[in-house]
Amino acid sequence: MPAKPIEIRTSPHLKRAMSVDRIMRSVVIALLPICAFSIYQFGLSALLLILTTTAVAMATEWLFARLSGQGNTLTDWSVVITGILLALTLPPGFPLWMAAVAAFVGVALGKALFGGLGFNVMNAALVGRAFVQAAFPVAITTWTPAFAPGRFTEVIPSTLTMPFMQPVPVADWIAGLQLDAWSGATPLALQKFQQIEPPVTEVFTGMIAGSAGETSALLILLCGLWLAFKRVLDWRIPVAVMAGAALTALPFWLLDSSANPSPGFVLFTGGLMLGAWFMASDLVGSPVTVSGMVIYGVFIGALTVIIRLFGGLVEGVMYAILLANAAAPLISSWTQPKVYGAVKQSRKVK
């Protein structure tokens, strides 16, 4: 008599504590204060920027999921993170149509073409940003001052550039605002090209110009710590990134503190904080082993500083993370843990 085949149900038979969408939702929640600060700092333009990239990223994800028959993948919230993160790395006055291109390219090239969530090699938001960095080098390095008066009633002129048009030069608009001499330039650019180092306290709290969401190191640190506390991200990666950056900057600063930035300045300027806590720690692109995570983090930190100090670019976080993403599988395979009871290489006992 043939036995009735049964439906196989595998152990464990207990409730799962975590789920992908809960993790992703937590990250989105952690990003919200940063968005709020960005809007407070840069006004309507930042708001429009965040909304644009998020909406385009979601639409792209939906489209590709539909084309590949994956069903509705928006429910895992991961693409919302991509959209928000992308906006936070762009200059606040970045033309919206270019931001839309970045979001589309990031999700399509950086994620969907690899097979969607979990299969992408690199951080999708940074892929999008790298694309527009190459495509629109001027627009992406055009910074506008923070706390411009009237920022909640009017947008930065370049924001509403018509598609496929060059953005309106903002120099006149900035001149019209009549602000301090260095308010419009980012601290990194000031340091690199004019050897002016703004006070660390100001860069730490974010009362400066910069990309939409990267200015307040303090706020990013707090939000990141909350995620680490909730065990959504692994604290080792951001800590390793920061350590790698600070330790690499330290000898150069000691050698020539007038030409080279201090470790504190390195840590709290540019996208390092945002990159360390929200992009380097991206689960998909980082190594899976603990020692691999540390190597990966230090690599990102060190590379960022090296690009900043010796490269032609002002900022190096993006390329450092993309490179490290590409190296992550290699790092993982280098740092395989020793399996329980793994037979040691036969050591001769004398």
Binding site: M1, A3, K4, P5, I6, E7, I8, R9, T10, S11, P12, H13, L14, K15, R16, A17, M18, S19, V20, R22, I23, D76, S78, G116, L117, G118, F119, D234, L283, V284, S286, V288, T289, V290, M293, Q336, P337, K338, V339, Y340, G341, A342, V343
Partner: protein
């Protein structure tokens, strides 16, 4: 993380940590508050002939036989095997495949006994109270006769495990009372109620192994069991030999390799057994069974089973005869609650869900779990792996579950073994923490069983190749011999060379006492007719088959023709 020693209890014994692990809600108090109740004898027992790892036992009773409690009904086959005993007196009503506790839900040969309710014991082997003066081999023989297998779940024959061979003497016997899986409390109750017997069993095993010491590892969520065991050790005056160690509660501390790590800091070499490093682990239930067998001559016919989960009315432990249907246990626990959703055999982390409770209790079945959908919700469809690495963090074998998953998913059985698949203990930690709810353990089990099956196929193919080659060689030899004979015949009498001789030579079968002389002509004609008829039918069937392309088996020929065909001789 690995070599952080800490001190537990007043004994100041140094303990170690294993990698990973999980703190789980232990749910022990659901079922451990009441003493284990003896379950009334059921009217029918279903006793599987294989309740151990190794060769199944062969039934040595026939349908209709009257058996008594403790009588051998299945004899062990080969060295790694165990006998099976009647758990009560009664009549053997069938020996047939029945559903057994197995994740496949398949049936396996069982002896079915209709109990007579008298529970008359068979004549038992004499007790050996002076075991210290008895040779280890005799005691092992007694353990084998008593059908004792590892009761922690692996069900490896205990006598084989207790004979680890000369080159690796066992220095330390480890008794596993950790019981780290949530819900299960049968070892807890056993230690509380039968600590003295367990210690007797430990003492016997120490004597068999000639081991110097014994460590009993018990998780610190079972203080009563620890106290009872410590008291039993002092009562027996064995403090110098046996130490009861309180270990921190962390799943899966009850895994053999993990417990060894916690207690000794050593790691069992991959693909090897603990005896390699002078250790041997036995479950507390096994120790109890050894004491029963040696000191009382009683074979292993009953055990403690936990019935728990919020899906039963009254979770508790029972003392159960082997072969009792799980349904009787559930009924004795007050039956299912309406929100019961899933029936699991074993613990919630490593057990398997079964479709029906019409399965018998076996020697290694420790828990029947009726879980509600709140306790054991459907995790939903698996989502893509986001490479978070949580699985690697909790893996007690320090594996990379994620890499195993990718390769098992790709059905790359070589690669998955490169990542040490066979060091996986299937504890389920990785699957529990996986935010994508991927059924990781099932992937590993799939890869393991598939690898074993491939290995079996390879061996079978090799075997077939050898047989084929031997046959080819034989046929060639026969052909040569035939040619040689032909040449001889040609040389002797060229005219007489006929094909008949060749035919006879080609036939391989031995001649079977030809009795052609006794056959009458009419019988011969009948036989020919029958064969012709059979051939015709066969041809028709083939035609019909070809016409309909129906793969269904053809109906057997009529008995009449077949009997005639077999009755006499044909040419």
């Amino acid at each position: 993380m690995n070599f952080i020693p800490f001190h537990a209890g007043s004994r100041q014994r140094k303990l170690w940590q294993f990698h990973g692990g999980l703190h789980l809600p232990d749910e022990k108090t659901l079922s451990n508050t009441e003493p284990a109740a003896p379950l009334p004898l059921p009217s029918q027992l279903v006793i599987p002939l294989q309740q151990h790892i190794g060769t199944p036992a062969r039934a040595c009773v026939a349908v209709g036989d009257r058996v008594r409690t403790g009588q051998v009904i299945g004899e062990p086959q080969g060295p790694v095997s165990a006998p099976v005993h009647a758990s009560t007196s009664g009549v053997v009503t069938a020996i047939e495949p029945r559903a057994v506790p197995h994740p496949s839900g398949l049936q396996a040969p069982c002896v079915i006994i209709d109990a007579d309710g008298l529970d008359q014991w068979a004549e038992l082997p004499p007790p050996i109270p002076a075991f210290k003066q008895t040779a280890a081999d005799d005691l092992r023989q007694r353990i084998r006769q008593s059908g004792i297998v590892g009761m922690g779940g692996a069900s490896f024959p205990a006598d084989v495990k207790l004979a680890p061979g000369g080159e690796h003497p066992v220095e330390t016997l480890i008794i596993n009372g950790a019981e780290c899986e949530p819900y299960i409390t049968c070892d807890d109750r056993l230690m509380r109620e039968h600590a003295a017997d367990i210690i007797d069993g430990v003492h016997i095993m120490l004597h068999i192994l000639d081991a110097r010491r014994c460590l009993v590892g018990i998780e610190d969520n079972k203080p009563e069991a620890i106290a009872a065991m410590r008291q039993a050790v002092s009562a027996a005056g064995l403090e110098r030999l046996i130490e009861v160690v309180c270990i921190p509660t962390l799943y899966p501390s009850g895994g053999e390799k993990q417990l060894i790590r916690i207690l000794t800091g050593k790691e069992v070499p991959s693909h090897d057994i603990p005896a390699r490093i002078g250790l041997l682990v036995q479950n507390v239930g096994t120790a109890m069974a050894v004491a029963d067998a040696v000191l009382r001559g009683r074979p292993l016919i009953e055990r403690l089973v936990t019935v728990s989960g919020r899906g039963v009315a009254h979770p508790r432990n029972f003392r159960v005869r082997i072969g009792t249907p799980a349904a009787a246990l559930v009924a004795a626990s007050g039956g299912y609650r309406p929100d019961q959703a899933r029936l699991v055999i074993g613990g919630p982390m490593m057990g398997y869900a079964v479709e029906s409770d019409a399965i018998p209790v076996t020697k290694s079945l420790n828990c029947v779990l009726a879980l509600t959908s709140a306790e054991s919700p459907d995790p939903g469809p698996a989502q893509p792996c986001i490479r978070c690495g949580r699985c690697a963090e909790v893996c007690p074998a320090r594996l990379l579950p994620q890499q195993l998953y990718w390769h098992a998913r790709a059905k790359d059985l070589d690669k998955v073994q490169d990542y040490n698949l066979f060091d996986c203990i299937e504890c389920g930690c990785c699957a529990l923490v996986c935010p994508s709810h991927i059924p990781l353990v099932q992937y590993y089990r799939y890869a393991k069983t598939e690898s074993w099956a491939r290995e079996r196929e390879k061996q079978a193919a090799e075997h077939a190749r050898q047989r084929h080659a031997a046959r080819e060689a034989r046929l060639q030899r026969l052909e040569r011999e035939r040619q040689a004979r032909l040449r001889q015949k040609k040389a002797a009498a060229p005219a007489k060379a006929t094909a008949a001789g060749a035919k006879a030579g080609a036939r391989t079968g031995a001649k079977t006492g030809a009795v052609a002389g006794t056959k009458t002509a009419s019988q011969h004609a009948d036989r020919q007719a029958a064969i012709e008829a059979a051939r015709k039918r066969a041809a028709e069937r083939r035609q019909a088959k070809a016409a309909t392309a129906d793969p269904a088996a053809s109906p057997p020929p009529t008995a009449n023709a077949g009997q005639e065909t077999n009755a006499g001789e044909t040419r």
